[in-house]
């Protein structure tokens, strides 16, 4: 078990009139090699939750274990945990500060005290993993890049630490659709090729459904629903009650099924839906019990 939260409760500013319970007895486990999607409305506790995964926030009560080690241990173990769990914040390009792209990406590995050679090697690795050319960008200032490129450099800055777990908080916010898909595809490849455990926080059900194996739904500081994609979307009514929605394509399949068409409803990506719908269209009509619909 890679990450384990036991009765995790977090209260902001305890004891003051502004005291606010952001997490309420959250219990969850994340295993090595999973691609986990965390979804919930604004203020549901997603960001607070993930900041517990590398000890940036510590529980008010309960415990968070990373490979069995508590985040509430000494400084040394906290350093180890931050090396294992890389966290990419929302709008990570706001944290860029160095004169050149290479120097900025080097910041993380340098803090680990690695040799110059290793640092350089990791910088090249990280930039290439996010789809940027090391040779082309290494001496450029990060502040003269485009928004999408800055985002990638910032993600590379975390990847260069070579974490076992990569936590991404809304990594595609404010990007155009193509940039969005491209970054998520790169993360999926990292997950598949390097076996990195990825935790993706997003508002977008479509993205979560497309990329994750497992989904966790947060609501008002509690973990309401958790399970693999099919299990979670089988509870469409519960999800809707929490103010969220299934992916648009799944909703379409639900609607078609309600009308009596013979299509499965556990479909979460457009590609998958295409496979199911195309045969119907080829016949020129959709089969419905009793009568025929012509398309």
């Amino acid at each position: 078990m890679l990450i384990e939260c036991k009765d995790l409760t977090h209260v902001y500013m305890p004891g003051s009139p502004m005291s606010h319970k952001a997490l309420d007895e959250v219990n969850l486990t994340i295993d090595k090699g999973e691609f986990v999607g965390i979804i919930g409305q604004t203020g549901s506790g997603k960001s607070t939750l993930i900041q517990h995964f590398n000890g940036l926030l510590l529980p008010t009560s309960g415990d968070v274990l990373i490979q069995g080690k508590s985040t509430q241990g000494d400084k040394k173990s906290l350093k180890d945990i931050r090396e294992k769990v890389g966290l990419v914040f929302q709008y990570p390009e706001h944290q860029l500060f160095e004169e050149t792209v290479a120097k900025d990406v080097e910041f993380g590995p340098k803090n680990l005290g690695l040799s110059q050679e290793e640092v350089g090697e990791r910088t090249r690795y990280a930039l290439e993993k996010v789809g940027l050319s090391y040779e082309e960008l290494k001496d450029r200032s990060p502040f003269e890049l485009s928004g999408g490129q800055m985002r990638r450099v910032a993600i590379a800055g975390v990847l260069a630490i070579k974490p076992e777990v990569l936590v991404l908080d809304e990594p595609t916010a404010g990007l155009d659709p193509r940039g969005k898909q491209d970054i998520l595809d790169k993360m999926l490849r990292l997950h598949r090729e390097q076996g990195i455990t990825v935790i993706l926080v997003s508002h977008s059900m479509d993205d979560i459904a497309k990329y994750s194996d497992k989904i966790m739904v947060m609501h008002q500081g509690r973990l309401k629903i958790s399970g693999d994609v099919k299990e979670v979307f089988a509870r469409l009514k519960d999800i809707e009650e929490l103010g969220l929605n299934a992916p648009k394509i799944t909703l379409l399949m639900y609607r078609l099924r309600e009308k009596g068409f013979d299509v499965p409803y556990d479909v979460f990506t457009v590609e998958e839906a295409k496979e199911h719908l195309l045969p119907h269209l080829k016949k020129g009509k959709l089969k419905k019990s009793g009568s025929d619909f012509y398309v």
Binding site: R82, H94, Q95, N111
Partner: protein, 269 residues
């Protein structure tokens, strides 16, 4: 260090102090400060303390909070008291102590002066807290703009000063939040803000300060464009949604305070 400081905080409310004209509040505050330094008997301070207590009572502010607000400045108050006690001469000798720097004597006059200064500081903190606790930052800057406008002839840019103040106040929480976020992001990359000697620590702040400056400039730029898009061009001919208007209660407060102070001073307190 200054946690719990009440000066600068605002507690929304509907009390008479909340609805008073902010200009009158500032003027009366200045007047009270002058009175505070003219009084020099304990009886006078007790009377003034009673007045403050009444005012706080009418303002519906939690008195506990105001007293707690003195605590962060306790060191400065104690320092003033001790310095006055040691340095002022006259009266009976209370304490004499030989130290490596020479003999230190504490005389009764010094203790008097010291306690007066301490009381004055405490009262200053209390009235300044009451002002900001009952006046929204916007009302405060509006009032400052009005009060400074007679000096416009002398080239004082009253409107610009007030606008800068309100923008600065507006962005304090935003920048605090931003600092917290960048700090966390750099910590996640292994940055260390807690250990090392002074030079190391200063150097470790670079990954925090540069992004903070970049974002402050970006925000300033965006704000400037947004203001210009809404045709902002300085204070000339600008009208207000809420015009400040002196009311009977404002003049009444002024009369009450001035007569109270005159009585105190005439009695030689």
């Amino acid at each position: 260090m200054f946690k719990g400081l009440t000066i600068g905080q605002y507690l929304p409310g509907q009390s008479i102090l909340h609805v008073m004209d902010p200009r009158m509040k500032i003027l009366l505050l200045l007047f009270t400060v002058v009175v505070l330094f003219l009084l020099d008997t304990f009886a006078g301070y007790i009377m003034l303390g009673l007045l403050f207590f009444t005012v706080i009572y009418f303002s519906n502010l939690p008195i506990k909070m105001i007293i707690k607000g003195i605590r962060p400045l306790f060191f400065i108050i104690a320092f003033t008291f001790i310095l006055h006690s040691i340095l002022t001469e006259g009266g009976d000798i209370i304490l004499e102590q030989s130290l490596w720097i020479g003999t230190i004597t504490v005389e009764s006059e010094g203790v008097y002066r010291g306690s007066f200064m301490a009381i004055r500081l405490i009262f200053l903190i209390i009235i300044a807290s009451v002002l900001t606790l009952t006046t929204s930052p916007i009302a405060l800057t509006d009032a400052i703009e009005h009060l400074l406008s007679p000096f416009k002839r002398l080239g004082v840019p009253a409107h610009e000063i007030a606008m800068m103040m309100s923008i600065a106040l507006r962005f304090i929480p935003t920048l605090t939040e931003e600092t917290d976020k960048i700090m966390k992001a750099q910590k996640a990359r292994g940055a260390n803000f807690e250990t090392g000697n002074i030079i190391q620590r200063a150097r470790n702040l670079i990954p925090l300060l540069i992004p903070l400056f970049v974002s402050a400039f970006r925000r300033a730029d965006e704000l400037a464009v947004a203001m210009e898009a809404r045709c902002y061009n300085g204070g000339e001919g600008r009208t207000r949604l809420r015009e400040l208007k002196m009311d009977t209660r404002d003049y009444l407060a002024m009369v009450v305070l001035i007569s109270f102070a005159s009585v105190l001073l005439l009695l030689g307190l």
